[in-house]
């Protein structure tokens, strides 16, 4: 037995609602050596999580391992009985989930949950387990390791909880740890801390790991080897530097290309049209949640006196971490949350704070596209109805004229016309986001507020959406306010970028200059935290501790 894990010709199939069998994993082979970290990378639906779960001998409901073998430390997880598998789980193979917040029981103290595995498998006495947990907390550089275990999950931050879930996985001294996109939901500045903690712990303990992710840059920091997956098949296996420097498979190249999208060519549209006329202008706009106090400011101020000007045909990016007020700002501009103070000018004219007080024409010309197409499209209506309603509402289109316009819209966003009879649930994530965009286009707007529209999408799909936005801008002369936490996408499409921190706009500068030495210290911290494809980036990264203390929430 030369390798810790040997996967041979693994096949997983799922049974659909109608009883049809679908192959999800179509014969996958790879090995993991002792102490090695292997990354599984691919877009959603590529089967990366499914493969990782089979290492625990587990498949999601409706799926089953149809063939092949998964040998972990000499045992074939596919052949074990359920009882034997439960003995292996936690003590030989452990799992770190994507969302630690959902994996912890909110009603129990953290310590009880972290040492649960030692109790179930009867590995060590409670006192020893707690001592070991504290040791792990320290190794994962958690604050106040002695007492953090007595808190409840809601009393620690997201990044801390993710590290605690790693402690939970590591306490049973497993031979193999599975990380299932553990940093995807975290902010970039938090992600660094978590990645560093994972990396140092894994290095010390010499455990093998499987790291599932769709983010090539994150994977580059932690993995020794990378397995690129697509459609349930291995496309390419290689060491991290091989994959990054000399990708062989076209799909791998596509992934790498999507990581560094071409920058925006200086706004030609602006130069041609009357550039001086701002399409949107904000004057010291504040907004927030909760009851307004005596001076009229809301209880929780999410946006604090933000001002900017956006000229016709140009794009403004707004970046910041979660909780910085960027989405609230978009909602304030759209009139969903009326500003507590300040004034919004649209096309040179002041608009009413609340959407219901705005004229239909104002509403039509300013459209918003939300992050999650899953919640932004009515699941009970067909694509045709979803796109048809704004056409009927704003333009009074009926019958054949309406149908023709729907076809045009679908062409604009590069979707096949036949899709119009489907329900949103029957489309892929990227297709849904295109429909979401098409609905905004149906209004014939001047300005589209894009609220994190690529965040939920895979790298390659997101890059395609960005390209689409650029094409549409050329064709229709739109302006975008593009909100994102991802600097690369913002730089790809925007002329100027505004950085937000705790509700305030800390600075606004041309897209190319973001993060340069001249910038605000917070912008510099944010920019330096964005992972790079260079595998040595994390180790070489030096952050000013004062800056981190001042701005990172951890």
């Amino acid at each position: 037995m030369s390798h810790l894990v040997e996967i041979r010709n693994l096949k997983v199939e799922a049974t659909t609602d109608a009883g049809r069998r679908v192959d999800i994993i179509k014969g996958v082979d790879f090995d993991i050596a002792e102490g090695e970290i292997v990354a599984l990378i691919g877009e959603s639906g590529s089967g990366k999580t499914t493969i990782a779960l089979t290492l625990l001998g587990y498949t999601r409901t409706g799926c089953r391992i149809a063939g092949g073998s998964i040998r972990v430390a000499g045992r074939d997880m596919a052949r074990l009985t359920e009882k034997e598998r439960t003995r292996v789980r936690g003590s030989e193979v452990a799992y770190v989930p994507q969302s630690a917040a959902a994996a912890f029981n909110p009603a129990q103290r953290i310590m009880d949950q972290v040492i649960e595995i030692t109790r179930i498998h009867d590995l060590m006495p409670r006192a020893a387990a707690e001592a070991k947990a504290v040791e792990l907390f320290r190794a994962l550089s958690l604050p106040s390791p002695e007492t953090i275990g007595t808190r409840y999950p809601h009393q620690v931050s997201g990044g801390q909880l993710q590290r605690l879930s790693a402690a939970m996985a590591l306490i049973g001294d497993p031979k193999l740890v599975i990380f299932d996109e553990p940093t995807t939901a975290l902010d970039v500045t938090t992600q660094i801390e978590v990645l560093r903690a994972f990396k140092s712990v894994m290095r010390q303990s010499r455990m093998a790991g499987v790291y599932v992710s769709h983010d090539l840059a994150v994977v580059a920091q932690i993995a020794d080897r990378i397995v690129v997956l697509k459609g349930g098949e291995v496309q390419e296996i290689g060491t991290t530097s091989e994959i990054l420097s000399a990708p062989k498979h076209p799909y791998t190249r596509e992934l790498l290309a999507a990581f560094s999208p071409p920058g925006r060519v200086a706004a030609q549209a602006a130069a041609e049209s009357d550039a001086a006329r701002p399409v949107l202008e904000l004057e010291a706009v504040s907004a927030g949640y909760g009851k307004p106090g005596a001076d009229g400011t809301p209880l929780i101020l999410a946006v604090d006196k933000v001002s900017f000007r956006l000229e016709r045909g140009r794009n403004l990016g707004i970046i910041g971490e979660s909780g910085c007020g960027k989405s609230t700002l978009a909602r304030t501009i759209a009139g969903i949350i009326p500003p507590a103070s300040g004034q919004i000018y649209f096309d040179g004219k002041p608009v009413a704070p609340h959407a219901r007080d705005r004229s239909p024409d104002e509403l039509r010309r300013l459209q918003i596209v939300f992050q999650s197409a899953d919640t932004a499209l009515n699941p009970a209506k067909s694509i045709e109805d979803i796109l048809g309603r704004p056409l009927a509402f704003y333009h009074g289109l009926r019958g054949a004229a309406r149908d023709a316009r729907i076809d045009r819209l679908l062409d604009l966003v590069h979707l096949p016309r036949a899709l119009k009879h489907r329900l949103p649930a029957e489309l892929s994530g990227g297709q849904k986001q295109r429909v979401n965009l098409a609905r905004a286009l149906a209004a014939d707007p001047d300005l589209i507020l894009c609220d994190e529209i690529t965040s939920a999408l895979d790298t390659v799909v997101a890059a395609a959406i960005i390209e689409l936005l650029k094409d549409l801008q050329r064709e229709l002369g739109l302006s975008y306010v593009f909100i994102s936490h991802d600097l690369h996408t913002v730089q790809a499409i925007c002329d100027e970028v505004a950085v937000m921190y705790r509700g305030e706009k800390v600075e606004q500068l041309p897209a190319g200059d973001v993060g340069s030495a001249a910038g605000h210290p917070y912008s510099r911290l944010l920019m330096s935290s964005v992972p790079k494809l260079d595998p040595t980036w994390l180790d070489r990264l030096e952050r000013d501790p004062e800056l981190v203390a001042a701005f990172a929430k951890r």
């Binding site: 759209a334 509403l363 009515n378 009970a380 609905r439 395609a464």
Partner: protein
């Protein structure tokens, strides 16, 4: 980006899955509905005719369910009673659920003082014990079929309102409702097109459950003598007027009880086993 396009577009025929329990309970419900409609053609004897000299007669070929305390044919009376039990309950259920669901969705979408005022008012109504409310109304204005229908509808509107509002509040927070709102859509479109299609499944289930409650409450009121008045009788009234036959084990008291049980259980089972649409996304 790869988009899978099927070369020829074929219209989607949604498949449905409906299990045996569902079919069986549907058959019972449909049978009772048919009986209610066709009662005059089905009854072997006149509803009010005293056809047997004996009272609380046993089951026989001539009187399949025996005779009642006056010697009237029990089968005919149950067949006719279905009209009142099913008809009144159905009318009351429809009024209660239409009002409740509409108001519930409107309250969830509007929010603010409209929601607060309506919720408190209906909560107050809900706090009155339903039988007591029925007793007071019937004692006050007398018993007639319109009064019964309205009383039952009023008693069950608050529950339906609460249920629909709770469902609608969840849908209301979805982005697609926000999108419709900032498009400038009016209340009617928001509740009818954006909210209702997404809560219709649970709402149907609730309608069924409320129908069962109303059948039972109506039977209860009739049993107390406040429901349908003689010589007409719904199933509850049939149980009451024949309660004297209980010591004799007369079929006259059993049969209407079984009728109530069969209808309410069948409706419940039907709700639990409604046809399910087969969703096959990868198809």
């Amino acid at each position: 980006m790869a988009i899978d396009v099927s070369p020829t577009f074929k219209p989607r025929l949604p498949g449905y899955r409906f299990n045996l329990t569902g079919w069986a309970s549907l058959a019972v419900v449909v049978a009772w509905a048919a009986v209610a409609i066709l009662a005059p053609y089905l009854t072997p004897h006149g509803v009010g005719d005293i056809v047997d000299l004996d009272y609380f007669g046993p089951m026989s070929a001539e009187f399949p369910l025996g005779t009642d305390y006056l010697g009237r044919d029990m089968l005919s009376r149950i067949l006719f009673g279905a009209r009142y039990t099913v008809g009144i309950s159905l009318a009351a259920t429809l009024i209660a659920c239409t009002t409740g669901v509409t108001l519930g969705m409107a309250a969830a979408v509007s929010g603010g003082w409209f929601d607060a005022a309506l919720s408190r008012f209906l909560d107050a109504l809900n706090s009155i014990p339903s039988k007591l409310f029925g007793l007071v109304v019937v004692a006050g204005v007398g018993s007639s079929i319109p009064v019964l229908i309205l009383t039952l509808a009023i008693i069950y509107t608050p529950g339906s309102y609460r249920f629909a509002r709770a469902l609608a509040v969840n849908v209301n927070t979805m982005d697609f409702v926000t999108v419709a709102r900032i498009r400038g859509e009016r209340l009617g479109y928001l509740i009818g097109s954006e909210i209702l299609p997404n809560i219709i499944g649970p709402v149907f289930a609730d309608v069924g459950i409320r129908f069962v409650f109303i059948v039972l409450l109506l039977s209860g009121l009739s049993f107390l003598g406040l429901g349908v008045q003689p010589p007409e009788a719904d199933w509850g009234a049939l149980v009451r007027e024949n309660i004297g036959g209980l010591p004799f084990g007369a079929p006259a008291v059993m049969a209407p009880s079984f009728a109530i049980a069969s209808l309410t259980i069948a409706v419940n089972l039907l709700i639990d086993n409604l046809p399910q649409k087969i969703r096959d996304r990868s198809a």
